[in-house]
Symmetry: C2
Subunit: 256 residues, 2 copies
């Protein structure tokens, strides 16, 4: 069950093999090791469903080179991605907030490995380690703020820029230029028709920013893609950076 954190990295793909989860990596060494000692390393396969709305949460996941999409469902035909979790984040925030009911559907969008910890073990660690708890709560704040940004984005931005943003966010988390996504899949994430994706992606391809073929999409010109994306991509990064690196306010620690 518990493995040494050094047995963690996996060879065989073109990603940075030493990439840790950023929520864990920045912890004090003792806390980090104790937490990792409670985790097991699991491999997440593409399209794997990690949880459905209403499930009882068994584990939290800290992706290293995998990443996960969080989906809200209205009904059969209407679902929408409301967030992503890669090495910068986690799945299972509800545990940090004291709850054990999965609020969203989670599917693996990028195959790879992740640290998995049991709900109970995480709860114990959170009690035991204030630094961990503080860091997770900051990430909760990031999630809320990013969700607000995404709401405005969803309302006011068009498919092309939103698609570009999605590709950039995915590329950041997948750490690879080639993403295994079909247009059908992209349409579901963005909450638009596949035809809309065909049009938008076709334009990006014509401009030489991306290329794709039967479920393999490759980013060719990342800089140009950043220009094509809406401002929400940069906003998201800014929120993460500002929030996670903000100075602690007075009395949020016993001394400062």
């Amino acid at each position: 069950m518990t493995r040494s954190p050094t047995s963690v990295t996996r060879a065989g793909d073109r990603r940075d093999p030493a990439r840790p989860n950023q929520l864990i990596a920045a912890l004090p060494k003792a806390d980090r090791n104790r937490l990792l000692g409670q985790c097991e390393l699991v491999h997440l396969t593409l399209a794997q469903v990690l949880c459905e709305v209403g499930d009882t949460t068994r584990h939290a996941y800290f992706p290293s080179d995998s990443f996960i999409s969080l989906l809200a469902r209205l009904d059969e035909h209407h679902e929408l991605e409301v967030g992503m979790a890669g090495s910068e984040g986690m799945l299972g925030m509800q545990l940090v907030l004291g709850l054990r009911r999965d609020p969203l559907k989670a599917i693996v969008q990028g195959a790879g490995s992740a640290w998995r910890i049991e709900a109970r073990a995480l709860a114990l660690e959170l009690e035991r380690c204030p630094a961990l708890h503080r860091r997770m709560l900051r990430y909760a704040s990031v999630l809320m703020d990013q969700r607000a940004v995404s709401m405005a984005c969803l309302r006011y931005h068009e498919i092309g820029p939103r698609l570009s943003r999605w590709l950039l966010m995915s590329q950041d988390r997948a750490q690879t230029d080639t993403l295994p996504v079909t247009q059908e899949c992209l349409a579901a994430m963005l909450g638009v028709r596949r035809v809309g994706v065909t049009t938008a992606a076709g334009q990006l391809q014509q401009q030489g920013l991306i290329t794709y073929h039967r479920g393999r999409l490759t980013v060719l010109d990342r800089a140009a893609l950043e220009t094509a994306a809406c401002s929400c991509y940069a906003a998201d990064l800014g929120v993460y950076s500002d929030t996670m690196h903000a100075k602690a306010p007075p009395t949020s620690r016993h001394r400062r």
Copy 2:
């Protein structure tokens, strides 16, 4: 600065004069009184701006019979309501999460009173009172989940049902049938044109569900309005109820 919590209720309007803030009311009596002792009662006036994005948070607010809209801004002309806070909630969640930067713009949508506590005092109380902290974190979870619901709603539901939902949510928080809102204001909240509101509200009025005139909108048939609203209204209530009343998971308290 500190006032007796019994000086709190105000006469002179048609709302339930004894309505407390629900986040505070359910606390153990000692904790509740200590918290209220740190609060001051303030009157919030319609359209008052409580904070802008990026401000340093000075206070948290616990509305009693007032309520507040939370707005995300992309630019001058594009803003969007991403949440509401009435007696069921609070403004200033970032303080609970260990941050002092306002993530959203907050404006008073329904005049009335609220308890206000200084950022530092709240932080101290949160450390001192685990029950308070737990309860606030649950509310954080509610906010996240409701935001996910609202995202899907924004994407897939039409103006009419969304308007109906907004009116119901406002009525719940205002505790009155008549709301002081113009169509211009509704349009800004929903992220649509005023003309779109004119059409949708006109239909609701024709059907006898509401009536309005120059900035005063009255709900006539609440039951019918609930039918006209999208499912997200009920979903929101369900999320709040389920989350706030959920049993604590194992080890989220030292004993259970």
